[in-house]
């Protein structure tokens, strides 16, 4: 399997079938000569690193870290087809932090929502 082509930038779907972002990054774990696929990353400054490293480094200094990336261990990656299905619940991960925030602070405030 080609990780860049088949996993990176794919749509991430949670256990309930909800879109929860794109696979912004992939973590490889080095053990001696071997590298294992450890996790996929959604959100945080991961994406910014790929757009502009200087900007990402600056953002991380301001945020004091990577923001709130969601790391999903590779064993919870269920299926790779058109989308990448993840055996997690998006609501409970930081990947849904902004979705939750917008829903609770903006959308719900609109009368009739």
């Amino acid at each position: 399997m080609q990780l860049g082509r088949e996993v990176l930038d794919q749509q991430a779907i949670d256990a309930k079938g909800r879109q929860m972002g794109k696979v912004d990054g992939i973590v490889l774990e080095l053990r001696g000569d071997q590298a294992r696929v450890a996790a996929v990353v959604v959100g945080g400054t991961t994406l910014l690193w790929r757009v502009h490293a200087g900007l990402a480094a600056w953002a991380e200094r301001r945020l004091g870290g990577e923001g709130a990336p969601t790391r999903i261990p590779w064993r919870q990656v269920v299926k790779i087809g058109i989308d990448v299905k993840l055996d997690v619940e998006a609501e409970r991960t930081p990947a849904f932090r902004w979705e939750r925030w917008v829903r609770d602070h903006v959308i719900s405030r609109v009368p009739g929502a």
Partner: protein, 404 residues
């Protein structure tokens, strides 16, 4: 039978969806300034957009990916950013122009300035998106859009000479005002080949669950819908040629445009024009606001769908909730709706390579299309039109700005 119904619906969508402020204003300007001479630009635009809409539908039916999804996935974030930013900017400008168009129609009807109407119009669009479903937005907008057939009636009443219409299909060099001629030509192409049309179409096809069985419907819809839609644009041009060109009236101020229908059809014509302008722009504003939300949400993988309740797709909803009032502010600030429209269309033409080439790349990728990749004719046609339009726009826009 249901396939036939789908095609019929597609044609209605084409008629109702093609004509919006851009096609209306640019066709009217072309007819007023150059008679029937610029019909070729409409034809070129129609061929190009028909190919593009067909491609976006084919991509959705075969790969089940919307355009932004596929671009992000295939190109990675870096090469996705260019089309994302270009399409978002152009769509925002066109959205502002459509809101200006509806507000202008309300000004014609009420006498109250478009600047007052812009925000209420944006609020009405927002309310429909918030409450409505994709079916309501798509079908409602296109059914109401049928009122634009009034232009065909107007052109027939004016006895527009068919021979002139046909001879206008052949591109010819202008006898006067070359800068204005080419600027108008690229604006027409920009108005026809609006990226929002095929981006919106791809999202709709995925949301409606298209599969390989829809390829025929898709092809027929794209070809017939866009041709009929283009036919209405030609009718607008013909009305302008018969009413304004013969009297040497240029379309510089929007107050002159209702003449297109009030001359052949009298008082009723005036109201038909107001309804056409208002309804066509309102429908387009709905689709563009929705398409902006689709674009951003799909590009970053957020939950999206016009059939979801706003709470279920919060960030998606937020995009159109922010874009609409911002776009209305352009009119509130007093930007002339006609100028705004023409500038947006020229900039759309300028950005065509950035918005269109990514689709072409995907359409030639067997990873997404399998055996249904593009043939060389559609590749060549779309590439040629977008590159030529971009180059001409690059030359014509500065000339036009210096000239006016």
């Amino acid at each position: 039978m249901s396939k036939l119904l789908e095609i019929a619906l597609g044609i209605v969508t084409g008629i109702g969806g093609f004509l919006e402020t851009g096609s209306l204003a640019t066709s009217a300007q072309a007819g007023a300034g150059f008679g029937f001479q610029l019909i070729w630009a409409i034809a070129l635009g129609v061929i190009c957009i028909a190919f593009l809409v067909e491609m976006a539908g084919r991509l959705a039916a075969i790969s089940h990916h919307t355009l932004p999804d596929a671009m992000r996935e295939r190109f990675g974030i870096r090469f996705f950013l260019a089309p994302l930013v270009a399409v978002a900017l152009v769509s925002f400008l066109v959205l502002a122009a459509e809101i200006g168009g509806v507000a202008l129609a309300l000004q014609f009807a009420s006498g109250v300035s478009y600047r007052v109407w812009a925000l209420p119009v944006a609020a009405a669009v927002w309310l429909l998106l918030w409450k409505g479903t994709l079916g309501v937005v798509e079908k409602g907008a296109s059914l109401l859009g049928l009122v634009t057939i009034a232009f065909v009636v107007g052109a027939v009443r004016l006895h527009a000479p068919l021979a002139d219409v046909v001879s206008g299909l052949l591109p010819t060099a202008p006898e006067h005002d070359p800068a204005k001629y080419w600027f108008t030509a690229v604006s027409i192409i920009g108005a026809s080949v609006s990226p929002y049309l095929f981006y919106f179409y791809s999202a709709g096809a995925v949301e409606d669950g298209w599969d390989e069985g829809y390829l025929g419907v898709n092809r027929a819809t794209a070809a017939l819908g866009m041709t009929f839609g283009g036919g209405i644009a030609v009718a607008v041009l013909a009305c302008a040629a018969m009413v304004l060109h013969v009297r040497g009236i240029q379309v510089d101020r929007y107050e002159q445009i209702p003449l297109l229908l009030s001359t052949p059809l009298g008082r009723a014509g005036f109201w038909l024009f107001v309804a056409s302008l208002g309804v066509a722009c309102f429908g387009a504003a709905l689709e563009i606001a929705l398409q902006l939300a689709y674009l951003v949400a799909q590009g970053f993988g957020w939950r999206w769908g016009e059939n979801l309740r706003p709470r279920e797709a919060a960030r998606f909803t937020l995009v159109y909730t922010l874009a609409l009032p911002l776009a209305a502010l352009v009119s509130v600030a007093g930007m002339d709706p006609l100028k705004l429209t023409v500038i947006s269309m020229a900039l759309t033409a300028l950005s065509l390579p950035v918005t269109v080439v990514p689709l072409l790349i995907l359409m030639n990728d067997p990873l997404y299309l399998g055996e249904h990749t593009n043939g060389w004719i559609s590749n060549a046609a779309v590439l040629a039109v977008s590159v030529i339009a971009c180059i001409v726009a690059l030359v014509a826009i500065p000339l036009q700005i210096m000239g006016s």
